[in-house]
């Protein structure tokens, strides 16, 4: 039994900005952070990134980490430039009303684990 992007959308009552056709993608772990350097130190792939930071480098970071999905917390919305980057790279982008702590908690309760570790 694994979690998909569709499950994340449902659990976080999220709004999808791009990647409607990628809802079946499996998500294995999650990372919640506003510091991209910390995200880059995080090893696992097929992950979802929860963040309150809104700039193009969030999408670039997700690309480098082979992340499946980016969720902006606190209802923050990405720019069109960010969405274009995400579409080109096959990354789902969503927004949720929940704040970081609650969003992470809901996903954790739903069975998604973090497992951030530094090699």
């Amino acid at each position: 039994m694994f979690m998909t992007v569709a499950d994340i959308k449902r659990i976080l009552n999220a709004q999808v900005h791009c990647g409607d056709d990628l809802m079946d993608k499996e998500v294995k772990t999650a990372c919640g952070s506003d510091m991209m350097s910390d995200v880059l130190a995080y090893v696992k792939d097929q992950s979802v990134l929860l963040t309150g930071l809104v700039n193009c480098q969030v999408i670039r970071t997700a690309e480098m980490m082979d992340m499946v999905c980016v969720v902006f917390v606190r209802a923050k919305t990405p720019s069109e430039e960010m969405l274009e980057l995400a579409r080109e790279r096959g990354i789902v982008v969503m927004s949720t009303q929940y704040r970081m702590f609650t969003a992470c908690g809901l996903l954790y309760e739903g069975g998604l684990k973090g497992g951030c570790r530094v090699e």
Partner: protein, 131 residues
């Protein structure tokens, strides 16, 4: 790599990553190279006004040489410490400047060498083994 536009930072690393994927290289190596290059690219944009990256892909390894003509690094050992950063406030607001760039680059590569002269620039050489 252009140093005047933070939005474009990451473009070069993305291209290298795609090239490696198209070559069918193993995904762990692709990710390590992509992250190391991306951190290096961000460093050059933040501190040096841009720079140049040369990437060689051989059957055994990926070799990256990142060169800039920025201010140089006065104390390389200090710069390699986790958390040590000279990034300006504007960069920290963008989610960078936590002082993890160089340590991350070292962590994800199998070999890393930094040569730098204050006032002239910096060259970072990195290697990720494919076998």
């Amino acid at each position: 790599m252009a140093g005047d536009d933070f939005t474009r930072a990451g473009e070069a690393s993305g291209k290298v990553k795609n090239a490696m994927k198209q070559l069918g290289l193993n995904s762990d190596a692709v990710r390590k190279v992509a992250i190391a290059m991306y951190e290096g690219e961000i460093n050059m944009v933040i501190h040096a006004g841009g720079g140049q990256a040369d990437v060689d892909i051989t059957p055994d390894a990926v070799l990256m040489v990142l060169t800039d003509h920025g201010p140089g690094i006065a104390d390389i050992d200090q710069a390699m410490q986790e958390g040590w950063s000279t990034a300006p406030e504007s960069v920290r607001n963008l989610g960078f400047g936590a002082g993890m760039g160089l340590p991350n680059m070292r962590k994800y590569t199998d070999d890393m060498k930094i040569e730098s002269t204050v006032g002239q620039g910096t060259t970072v050489r990195m290697k990720v083994n494919l076998k």
